[in-house]
Amino acid sequence: MRETDLLVVGAGAAGLSAASEAAKHGLAVTVLDDNLLPGGQYFRRLPTGYHHTHETVFDKERQRANALYATTGQKGITYLNDAVVWESPENGVLAFARGADSGRIRAKLTIIASGAHDRPAPFPGWTLPGVVTAGGLQNLLKGQRVIPGRRAIVAGNGPLVLLVGATLARAGAELREVVEAAPILKRLAGSIADLIAMPKIVRQAVDYRLAIMKSGARLRTGWTVIEARGADELEEVVLAPIDATGKVDRSRARAVKADLLVVGFGLMPSIELVRLLDCKLEWKPLRGGWVPVRGADFETSRPGVLAVGDGAGIGGVEMALREGKLAGVIAAERLGKLSRDQAANLKAPIQAEIAKVETFRRGLERLYAMPPAFLDLLTPETIVCRCEDVTAGELRARQDAGFGSTAALKGTTRTTMGRCQGRNCLRTLSALIAQASGQPIEQVTMPRPRLPARLVTIGDLLQEELPPIEMPKDPHLPRGERVS
């Protein structure tokens, strides 16, 4: 079994910042990440050997990006790419799949920096080819420099909408519409005092908006996508305004031709590992939903396990970088490499910066807050679970038949049980249950956490050396405890 002082799961902004800082103070750090290249989502990069001609919005970040990538070669850091952390066989130990190198690792302290994934937002036609998520599109652009269409519409809610719009405009797409569901222009005045805590980001957002305007695309705020249409692939997108009560006003709906629809209704923290580790969760809708409860110093309810970055609550890249760095200092202090005073001196300026990002986030959250109207969009034919092809109609029929709980709907329809492990449908399922039962969504039971945290190749799992198999004398006889 491998051993390390500090184990960091995730080589994104948060994980790499944590690793770099901790190693600087003398810790032996191992970073495990399931991508081939370091950087995580925001700092995703082109594979080696690829070249591109178009500048993207992202190229301005090259300096920070290169500094982060370089940490994987920093003294004291062992970086293992293509390594999927899939379970915790015992306290302080995580198991990972990495081809012939698969195995377990024991750490004195663990930092989970698992990032986020797109929040599912089903509406009629959302599974048509030509409809992609905002995160997915950013990945394609950054990782491959590919735009999967020509005439593009971007729709959703949250800061990624403007970003994706600007990115597409600059990358040469024929951008038609950028559609933000929250009435952000009307709300701007109420948020600006907080937002200017991060002037650089505000400037960036202004740039994004200019880029969108310059491209000739129309920016609508207070509008949403309500349907994607097409025979075999996307042909047109139906947009409609949202009224003051949060309802979609279908009477003013408009159809726009397009062959690419990018949908981004926000992100959700990737919590599968903290759930497997049995960390307590709390519901923070403005941070993406379920997040691990964290004490001071980012510790989860499981001693020795810290959580930072988007995986601990959506905070964006600026938050992830700073939380990571702070966690690195915390780790060095806890493992005896820094005195209390030394650590306090290092922490203070990072904490001050985090406070600024928090202020900015508050402004951002007020700006983008939106009532969840998407359930109203579901028709009986709308697919909720893409892996198992379960429609909203089927789920509602099951609910009407009395199979109303998470377990019963899962058990009788397979929703959440496919290869996405529920990432693309659990939130919708919970929302449907909440709607039918009148409970708030956070009171809807979550399915039990199951391993693996992410899909792993069975062959990899066989690389680990196991004790010899002990067969029971008679496999028919009971092997468990007596219960009555």
């Binding site: 009395g402 190749t457 069975i458 468990g480 405890e481």
Partner: protein, 381 residues
């Protein structure tokens, strides 16, 4: 709720109450309701919320001990009739199964074991060499021989969990969900039942609460020893056809099958970790590894697939591992179906046979040796 197969609260009086809505209880209720009896199922959560919803759905005849072959055949027949005669889609399929042997010792053991089963009425074909490769080219060359039993089958815990409760409702039975039974008392030649959704009185009581059956029997002063295994099961991502038979192993713990959606279930009864109190049940890292190792040693292509999920569930087993069902000792009008190694396989037969007892019909197969009275311990033995 319109169209619901559930009722919100139990009636005050009913003829028969079935406690526990898994495959054993729902089958019992189905046959009683179809016979026109007034039956209420009381379920702690939702039907199929426990072992019946978590299991592999393997209905293998040839893995069964000789003593239970007839019971197993009856149950396979009922599973088949659900779809064929009663229009209840339980996802039954009968591709036949291969029980494999990988070493000389296992081959000898398989010969001996299958011969004994032949005496007990099992029909199978001995397969080796080219015949085996032709039938199952996807088997590892390490498999030296196998017995092929045409009757080995499967059914779908997913489909049956929706279809059987619906069929009970359609036949006039009532199902009360979230109605955990908290107390049982004999009263005026019948039973008084307390549930979390209200109390009721019945003439006849059937306990089909899986591993919790022992606790319920104790409320009526019957001490039955019941054990729980914590079985693990894993499922892969969907794949094009890899195997098309139900696989079991004479010398290793294994069950394998590919479902209609292309996913492959890998199990066989490897033990997870957990405790019964508090419903704690987890996969065990080492034994999962051993389970997968065994699986890949028999079907090498599995190594290429990705694992989507592993889980663990309780299976109730009697000390002698034979099914325990029939009259509840010392309690007139009370019945129990508490434990059976492979209880998903046996559930429909248990339900049919208990309904026959209640309906005063001759049993479809002899059941004397499964009488729970054989297990009695303590003061009431």
């Amino acid at each position: 709720m319109a169209g619901s197969v559930f009722v919100e609260t139990p009636p005050r009086d009913a003829e028969i109450a079935v406690v526990g809505g898994g495959v054993a209880g729902m089958s019992t209720a189905l046959f009683l309701a179809r016979a026109g009896r007034d039956v209420v199922v009381l379920e702690r959560g939702v039907p199929w919320g426990d072992a019946s919803g978590a299991n592999a759905g393997t209905l293998s005849l040839q893995v069964k001990r000789t003593e239970v072959l007839d019971l197993c055949k009856l149950s396979l027949d009922v599973w088949k009739r659900f779809g064929a005669e009663m229009d209840i889609d339980v996802g039954f399929g009968q591709p036949g199964g291969l029980r494999v042997a990988t070493t000389e010792a296992e081959v000898a053991h398989l010969r001996e074991y299958s011969e004994e089963q032949r005496q007990g009425g099992l029909e199978f074909e001995w397969m080796e060499g080219n015949q085996l490769r032709d039938m199952a080219p996807w088997l590892s060359t390490s498999v030296r021989a196998a017995t092929f039993c045409r009757e080995d089958a499967y059914s779908s815990p997913l489909l049956s969990g929706g279809a059987l409760p619906a069929a009970v409702g359609k036949a006039g039975g009532r199902i009360v969900g979230h109605a955990e039974v908290t107390d049982l008392k004999r009263e005026d030649g019948g039973y008084r039942i307390e549930t979390k959704r209200g109390a009721l009185r019945v003439k006849t009581l059937v306990i089909t609460a899986g591993p919790w059956s022992g606790q319920l029997a104790r409320m009526l002063d019957v001490a039955l020893p019941i054990y729980v295994d914590v079985n693990m099961l894993s499922v892969t991502e969907p794949a094009p056809k890899i195997l098309d038979r139900v696989i079991t192993h004479i010398g290793g713990i294994l069950s394998l099958k590919q479902l209609a959606n292309g996913t492959i279930l890998i199990g066989g009864g490897w033990q997870g970790r957990g405790r019964f109190a508090g419903m704690e049940k987890f996969a065990d890292h080492v034994r999962l590894g051993q389970n997968l190792t065994t699986a890949v040693s028999v079907v090498p292509d599995l190594a290429k697939l990705r694992l989507v999920r592993t889980w663990a569930g309780y299976e109730a087993v009697a000390p002698d591992a034979l099914p325990a069902f029939g009259r509840l000792p010392n309690n007139d009008g009370a019945y129990i179906a508490a434990a059976a190694r492979g209880g998903f396989t046996f559930g429909p037969a248990q339900g049919l046979l208990i309904s026959e007892m209640i309906l005063d019909k001759p049993p479809s197969t002899p059941i004397g040796r499964f009488d729970p009275a054989r297990l009695l311990t303590g003061a009431h033995a």
